[in-house]
Amino acid sequence: MKLKIPLSHLIFLAICIALSLVTKRVISPITNLLTDFLRVPGGGAATAFSLMFLVIATSSIQWPLATAAAGFVQSLLALSMGMGAYQGAFAILTYTLPGLVIDLFRKFYPRRDNAYFSLSCGAANTTGALLTNLLVFRLEGISFLLWMLIACVIGLLGGLLGGLLFHRIERIPEFRRFVLCQEK
């Protein structure tokens, strides 16, 4: 099967990957205020808002495994820019696998409503947090439960925000034409 990828899709995906990385950098100090106060590691909370852009991107372009691919590219960019921090090479896994979760969600939940955005982003962020804990932090007991709950709640919130954003940009005629490939 040969996959034909329009240039407009690649450009849109690249914009979303860049926005995703920038958002993570910008929002980290804010979410760290919360995680520092609760004395749990930061990162998982900011990732939710970063994943939001990947969900938007891959809801618009319909290639199989697009989010996993975007996550992989993002992990390489993050590593090359020194954003992998304490994760090191594990960043490849912690960025790619949440993308895979979004792809699976997309396959089994074809509607593009707020529930899709919220649940897929929540599930992806929780997967990322679980994986980071498994590979790096090794939190246990109540600290682990709190870490997972924060990742889940902020993931759901980030997804909901992504859904609202998607439904806004969906109305732009150029976006419908070039990204969603819908005729007038």
Binding site: L38, L156, L160
Partner: protein, 161 residues
């Protein structure tokens, strides 16, 4: 569906708040030192040490005198609050996490404003042996140098002859 999701997020938010509060309460009771007397061991938490502000001059190895402000507790008061009586004790040994140890006589410990266990110094938390963690430092006023100010204090042993 959006309403259900919103309700779900609010419920999860409440659960997270409750778990966060429990987590923070557990954090406050984190054990930081152990007091040993004969075969008896008593745990000391950071809460036990957060009692009073004190300040004074310390002299370093070069003879420079510097003024510092601390939060902590007089070691005699800490031992008393843990039910430890120094009447029959010859002294107290304080050991750090890196096994540095210092001996104080019972008289030194019982002197007013002499030996303290501090958790903050000049407005900053005292760091533990693991970078970024909280720690305890023993502060001794009146010594000719600050060699007996044990950093990363972890164990207090009451010496009974």
């Amino acid at each position: 569906m959006s309403r259900k999701i919103t309700i779900g997020i609010i419920l999860l938010f409440i659960v997270t708040g409750i778990v966060g509060a429990i987590h923070l309460m557990n954090q406050d009771a984190v054990e930081c030192m152990v007091i040993t007397q004969k075969n008896q061991q008593v745990a000391v938490t950071f809460d036990d040490l957060n009692r009073e502000a004190f300040s004074g001059n310390l002299i370093n190895g070069k003879g420079d005198v510097t003024f510092h402000e601390y939060t902590g507790v007089l070691l005699a008061d800490l031992l008393k609050s843990k039910g430890i009586d120094l009447t029959n004790a010859s002294g107290v040994t304080v050991t750090s996490a890196d096994n540095y140890s210092v001996v104080f006589t019972a008289e030194e410990i019982l002197q007013a404003d002499r030996v303290y266990a501090a958790i903050t110094a000049d407005g900053k938390k005292i760091e533990g042996i693991v970078p970024g963690s909280d720690g305890v430092q023993v502060i001794v006023f009146g010594d000719p140098n600050s060699r007996r100010c044990v950093r990363f204090a972890q164990k207090i042993t009451v010496n009974i002859p």
